[in-house]
Amino acid sequence: MDFSLSQDDCRFRDEVREFLRAELPAELRERHRQGFHIRDDDHRRWTQILGRKGWVAPEWPREHGGLGLTPIQRYLFDEEFGAADAPTILSFGRNLAGPLIYTFGTPEQRARFLPPILAGAEFWCQGFSEPNAGSDLASLQTRAEPHGDAYVLNGGKIWTTEAHHADFMFCLARTSAEEKRQNGLSFLLVDMKSPGITVRPIWSIDGEHHLNEVFFDDVVVPADRRVGEEGQAWSYAKFVLTNERTSAAGLDRMKAGLRRARRLLVRLAPGLDPTAVTQFRRRLAQLEVDTIALEWAVLRVLTADAREMAGASALKLRGSALAQRVAELVVDLLGPEALPQFSDEGYPHNADHNYGFADPDAPGAMTTHLYRRALTIAGGAYEVQRGIVAKQMFGL
């Protein structure tokens, strides 16, 4: 057992830190620190900056254009992003589409799709959930019928984050009507500019537009855009999702939230009732302790033979609830000044929306709190994760 970082790892960490200090645009940092989602143009710009350094997906294997980071290096890389309030790259290309394609795709698919992800030139969205499926992916109904050298796609997806900005979707579709449930699903790489695709915005309760409903109406997808074998997508999806299990913990998000809460508490303490300070301090301490536990659970998954652990589910269960509690603490620290509907678009550029009274930490705090309600729903609801743990660990 070794608790220290190797010299190589320290050097790498310092390099990331220095790069972010030098290259992260200040206004992007500030928006991210406030808790607003990254805007599409900012995301493209930032991804391209990282692309030039080769750091869009540094954990990818070298033969596919990554740096082949060790798990602990990737952990350090992400940690530095969090500490610098640097937006992370959206995971759809980096963590899902990329690994899917380099693991199961053809050489042609790799050549076509991997470089633009790494360069920040093309962006992806994920086509999993459907209106009648929720957490039950096995009941997907979007159909892809073979038609000559192509599939014809009909049906729809829902809760599709960033579909309105994405260039491609990796889409789970039913290619066989005979087989039931999880069998008969295939992965298709769908060009979002294809005729027959309609993207309808879904405004969420934070007052923002991240989510979409996507409709397929006779969308033609060339057969060579199918990843791997027909009908095998369920196992590919499980592999890919497992691959990013430690990011389900959302450790960097948590640490950034704790820094924000601490900063606020320090600043507000003089004006607060002393017992309130003591109470907030204790809530913060509890969350700090819980975050340390999450961090060491992640480190254990990364570096130890932790076969007993129901991996992703355990991390996601605690990580998602913890992120909600951190966001709630920030809002509670702000008190009534957290209540205005701060406009994402308006802040901080539009003076008309720049509420003069507001605490400098107020914008984005409530938005974050509200949007994080989704953390225990999306990607397999809390209830589903508990069921997975009970089944994996105890056969119940």
Binding site: L211, V331, P336, P340, R373
Partner: protein, 380 residues
């Protein structure tokens, strides 16, 4: 002791529920989110229903109803997420004025308020002062002619955007921060700069900046202005708690329907035991919140110290239940619960705002504890 509702009270509740169900559907509300403001048709209808004058004496055009009737109505307003500032403008402003000695001005204001002819807002909060009403953010001064004028800024004034009058808590002339007076400002073009915006629940609020704005000192009765404000806020708090219970009831109803109809993994959601139990917990939470409305109402009949302690206890327990029920409502709905187009998230946001209105949990815990000091427990 008897906690049953009278026939009249049941009638009031049922007629309010029927009226609001018909007139205040979720679609109507969404439209009203667009064209802000309360001066419209619905406020007039509230007046016609007698709701605005309800608690006024008969000679002021009211029916002499008490906090119980107010709570029943507020629960129904919560059930439909009414955007109108009933609690702020009618309960809070009304209670303030009613607590003052009768004068021509006061009686005219109350009559106008009850008739829906004038809108009165109450300005308490100041930047960086949390819930303190007179932290020094607005101070009253005297002109050389002896007239009162206000200078400073108030924030998050519910209904402040279109109020005809605003009652402002401020530090009195020669006073220190913490000393509190109540002042009436008549709003017109150059009274003060007002900026309106909405809070996350879609309700409209305003920031008001006074700069030597002419005001009328409302003090002068046997009770201090601070005591008047404190009691009026307690009345408003109990009404707000009732509104929160209405929100919770609506969330529970929506969620139960969802669980009964939505299918997943080949079964209705309602057949999953874990979700049944969550639903049971939501119901029980709401029942305890409802019990706390009774405690709040009873507290309004007690001396100040006991009243404050009881109302804070009610606010704490109701808001804790509200946050839990609201969050679970979203959780049990899944994705659809996260959307603007579905009601459950709107209820959650309203419950979030309610928790931070008239004192948040931290504030009320502090107040509760201060009124129940750590001395050797005696037999009560």
């Amino acid at each position: 002791m008897n906690l049953s509702l009278t026939e009249e009270q049941l009638l009031l509740r049922d007629s309010a529920r029927r009226f609001l169900r018909e007139q205040y559907s979720f679609d109507v509300r969404r439209q009203r989110l667009g064209d802000r403001g309360m001066g419209g048709e619905l406020w007039t209808q509230f007046a016609n229903m007698g709701w605005l004058a309800m608690s006024l004496d008969e000679e002021l055009g009211g029916s002499g109803a008490g906090p119980v009737e107010i709570a029943l109505l507020c629960e129904e307003l919560g059930r439909v997420l009414a955007l109108e500032p009933f609690v702020d403008s009618i309960v809070l402003a009304g209670s303030l004025l009613q607590a003052m000695p009768s004068t021509q001005l006061r009686d005219d204001l109350l009559r106008g308020l009850g008739a829906g002819e004038i809108v009165i807002a109450v300005a308490v909060l100041e930047p960086g002062a949390r819930y303190a009403g007179a932290a020094g953010g607005v101070v009253a001064g005297l002109t050389s002619e002896g007239c009162t004028e206000l200078t400073g800024r108030k924030i998050l004034v519910r209904g402040g955007g279109e109020a005809d009058m605003v009652i402002v808590a401020a530090v009195p002339p020669e006073g220190n921060p913490g000393d509190l007076g109540l002042y009436l400002v008549t709003m017109h073009g150059d009274s003060c700069a007002r900026r309106t915006y909405s809070t996350v629940d879609g309700c409209e609020v305003a920031d008001l900046s006074f700069d030597r704005t002419a005001a009328v000192d409302l003090a002068g009765g046997p009770m201090s202005a601070a005591a008047i404000l404190d009691e009026a806020l307690d009345r408003a708090t109990v009404a707000l708690c009732a509104e929160a219970v209405g929100c919770m009831e609506a969330v529970i109803e929506l969620t139960a329907v969802h669980l009964r109809t939505r299918k997943q993994f080949g079964k209705t959601l309602g057949s999953f035991q874990a979700l049944q139990h969550r639903m049971a917990e939501m119901h029980v939470e709401c029942e305890y919140a409802r019990a706390m409305i009774y405690k709040g109402l009873q507290s309004l009949t007690l001396p100040a110290d006991e009243r404050q302690k009881g109302v804070s206890a009610a606010k704490i327990r109701v808001c804790q239940a509200g946050l839990e029920v609201g969050a679970q409502g979203i959780q049990l709905h899944g994705g659809i619960g996260m959307t603007e187009e579905y009601p459950v998230g709107h209820y959650y946001r309203r419950l979030l705002v309610i928790e931070k209105t008239y004192g948040d949990l931290a504030h009320h815990f502090g107040r509760f504890e201060a009124r129940s000091p750590l001395i050797e427990a005696q037999r009560q």
